[in-house]
């Protein structure tokens, strides 16, 4: 039971922060299929930062570890500006723009990783090696039966994500900017009439989604493979999108959806271990979260209410 909760949580929380990024962008009316590319680019800049600090400056890897999160958020944010430029300023189709950014991110990070590795570290490797993140357990709390697993073997980024998620919830539902973001997604004309710039608010929302997705990307890089390689594009961004659609573009239901995915994933792989099945069956177990998404979507999609102005270019002249 415990490994299911521990592994599930370490997968669900990065997924959640990416999904929250998606909520920011989509509630402001900008479809964001680019999350996959943004998380990859964030992981790339984070990994680059880590490698540079540890290998060039003689510095403690703990400092590099925390700085890499900052770098990942900045990188994701910077890359998301392309999406913002295409969708807000250049009136591109938002779905196309998202897919384009995914493809561009895969190509660009692959190219840059190889180039940087050959230039700076004399080896044409396509990955940045990270350290395995230190894990800790909360004293006393981790001794509670069952529930204690939620406080056992945590990655340092897990509490960080929880704090960020709470801040995001407050921003989105209790602050002025959150109200404006949500208004942009349902009635941009009203926002405009109130004398605010729809474009600027959407820009902020997309940039925030990029930062959050980048952060989620580096978390995945630390927790899943301890390196940044093309395998970072394993579909996490799309799972986050699915979680967001499940959660009806609301934060708390999205959290539940992320937990369901995380636990389904870890439960399936634990089951394979438990039944002592062949390791090739792991492939079949990997299907579980994806199949579960499809099945659950069958039941929940009918009630989904996408933000009203989602995916539309805001045109002042239209009513």
């Amino acid at each position: 039971m415990n490994p299911i909760i521990i592994d599930g949580l370490s997968f669900a929380l990065p997924l959640l922060i990416i999904a929250i990024g998606g909520i920011f962008s989509e509630r402001s009316g900008v479809t964001n299929l680019a999350l996959e590319g943004l998380l990859g680019f964030g992981a790339f800049t984070g990994g680059l930062c880590f490698v540079l600090i540890t290998q060039i400056l003689p510095m403690d890897s703990a400092v590099a570890f925390y700085l890499s999160f900052l770098a990942a958020a900045l990188g994701g944010c910077a890359f998301s500006l392309i999406h913002a430029l295409l969708c807000i300023k250049l009136r591109a189709n938002q779905v196309i723009s998202g897919v384009v950014i995914n493809i561009a991110a895969v190509a660009l990070t692959g190219f840059l990783t190889v180039q940087i590795n050959t230039l700076a570290f004399a080896g044409a490797s396509n990955k940045f090696l990270l350290t395995t993140a230190p894990r800790f357990s909360v004293p006393f709390l981790c001794d509670i039966p069952v529930l204690g697993a939620f406080f056992t073997k945590l990655y340092p980024f897990q509490p960080l994500i929880v704090v960020l998620a709470v801040i995001c919830w407050f921003l989105l539902y209790r602050s002025r900017i959150g109200l404006r973001i949500r208004a942009c997604g349902s009635n941009p004309q009203a926002v405009d009439a109130a004398g605010l710039s729809v474009g600027r608010i959407r820009l902020f929302a997309v940039a925030a989604s990029g930062a959050l997705a980048g952060l989620g990307g580096i978390c995945f890089a630390y927790s899943i493979s301890a390196n940044v390689s093309p395998s970072i594009y394993f579909g996490g961004g799309f799972l986050a999108i699915a979680a967001m659609i499940f959660g009806n573009w609301k934060l708390v239901p999205t959290l539940l959806a992320c937990l369901v995915f995380g636990f389904a994933r870890s439960a399936a792989s634990q089951l394979v271990l438990l039944l002592k099945m062949d390791s090739s069956v792991t492939d079949l177990a990997m299907i579980v979260p994806y199949a579960l998404v499809l099945v659950l979507l069958v039941f929940f999609s009918r009630n989904t209410r996408a933000p009203k102005a989602l995916g539309e270019v805001y045109d002042k002249g239209q009513r």
């Binding site: 295409l86 250049l90 493809i103 692959g110 190889v114 999609s301 805001y314």
Partner: protein, 406 residues
């Protein structure tokens, strides 16, 4: 008007490609290489220019036939993306549909002792059926349960990926190559080592079929009732529904057509260009085809040109990286940049369209009796809002208009 707008689309695509080449040249310069050298070795690798030297029995034609062989699945895949796009659907599941079709065709026909006359058509049929079924399933989920096709196709991609990987690793693995066992040459859709004027080369049997399918899709969209319905649903599902079109049926049908084409891409890729399947890997073609379709603005005929271009980039990159000493990633980077610029293409067309409208308004204002003649082609005949759909770019104009619709 229509012809000039089509020309405009070509122009925009051309500008996007040129801008992309410019950006890539700068990147190549920054890496410290000569872009002209890199581009010419790219063209040499793709069989457009002769290489300085060839191994015995090979020549430019060998490379060029190889290019056509690689282009065949790309064109099928691009058509799959394009036809779904015209129905307003975004099929990013092409890679998964390809893999499913290729896997089942390999297992059913590739390992059977059938003779070529039976095996080759059967491979195509299996590809059509499997791809079509997967596509129709996605269309059904969209039409019946309102599941966004982007999410469902991606989920299906991973499901197909892991299932096929499991079966290949468990039952069909070749212990040496770590891929699925090679299929019989009887079932393979590409003939190997064919003697063409003294040069040994590949002969892709389905290349003409792919071109024919492009023409067929073009005619279907432009000339038939189903094509009109697909375009109408693509423009506005609600408006199509109100005018009496069964939108759900159209969505399922267009996704099925898209899946069929993706299935053909799968069999020509896994049982043509290659003769085995790498487990746990989706082909790049599935995603590059989005670039191809986008560059062609979802025009089936335009897809022929753009798939030739994109395949040149991917196919030539191997030789380029070995002779010019530059990472192969530059090719996929090129595709990415081409895509970025062609995504902006809509903006250029929006600007051009606005200028044209302003000019027409001017004409109307000065000419007086401009009603009926001076209007845009969209208003001059009923239903032409969708009718101009085969001129590239109208999709983007429509997006701007859709902003105000309920």
């Amino acid at each position: 008007m229509k012809a000039s707008r089509r020309l405009e689309g070509l122009l925009v695509a051309g500008v996007a490609v040129l801008l992309a080449l410019l950006v890539i040249s700068v990147i190549i310069l920054a890496v410290g290489k000569n872009p002209l050298l890199v581009f010419s070795s790219l063209l040499q690798g793709a069989g457009w220019l002769p290489k300085p030297k060839y191994a015995g029995g090979r020549g430019v034609l060998t490379d060029f036939m190889g290019l056509l062989d690689a282009m065949t699945p790309m064109l099928f895949a691009a058509l799959a993306v394009a036809i779904a796009f015209r129905a307003g659907l975004f099929n990013i599941g092409v890679a998964g549909q390809m893999l499913a079709a290729g896997f089942l065709a390999t297992v059913i026909v590739g390992y059977s002792p059938l003779t070529a006359v039976l095996a080759k058509p059967l491979v195509l049929l299996v590809g059509l059926a499997v791809g079509g079924a997967l596509g129709a399933f996605v269309g059904f989920l969209k039409a019946r349960f309102n599941i966004h096709e982007v999410v469902s196709t991606i989920m299906l991609n991973y499901i197909v990926l892991y299932i096929t990987s499991f079966f290949i690793k468990s039952y069909y693995i070749d212990p040496v190559s770590r891929q699925s066992r090679a299929i019989s040459s009887e079932a393979r859709l590409t003939l190997m080592n064919v003697d063409l004027g003294g040069l040994s080369s590949r002969l892709p049997l389905c290349f003409l079929l792919a071109v024919a399918l492009a023409v067929l899709f073009y005619l279907l969209l432009a000339r038939t009732r189903l094509g009109f319905e697909i375009r109408a649903v693509g423009k506005s599902r609600k408006a199509a529904q109100y005018s009496g079109i069964n939108a759900r049926r159209t969505i399922v049908l267009s996704m099925a057509l898209s899946g069929c084409s993706a299935g053909l891409a799968g069999v020509t890729y896994y049982l043509g260009c290659f003769n085995s399947i790498l487990p746990a890997e989706l082909s790049n073609i599935g995603f590059d085809s989005i670039a191809v379709a986008l560059l062609a603005n979802s025009n089936p005929l335009g897809s022929i040109l753009s798939s030739l271009l994109i395949t040149t980039l991917t196919y030539g990159s191997n030789y380029m990286s070995s002779t010019a000493g530059i990472s192969e990633y530059i090719a996929s980077l090129m595709i990415g940049v081409v895509l970025l610029f062609s995504a902006c293409g809509g903006f250029f067309q929006y600007l051009l369209g606005r200028r044209r409208k302003a000019l027409e308004l001017d004409k109307e204002a000065t000419g007086g009796a401009g009603i009926g003649t001076g209007g845009s082609s969209g208003s001059s005949n009923p239903g032409a809002g969708a009718g101009t759909g085969d001129s590239p770019g109208s999709e983007y104009d429509q997006d701007a208009k859709a902003a105000g619709q309920p």
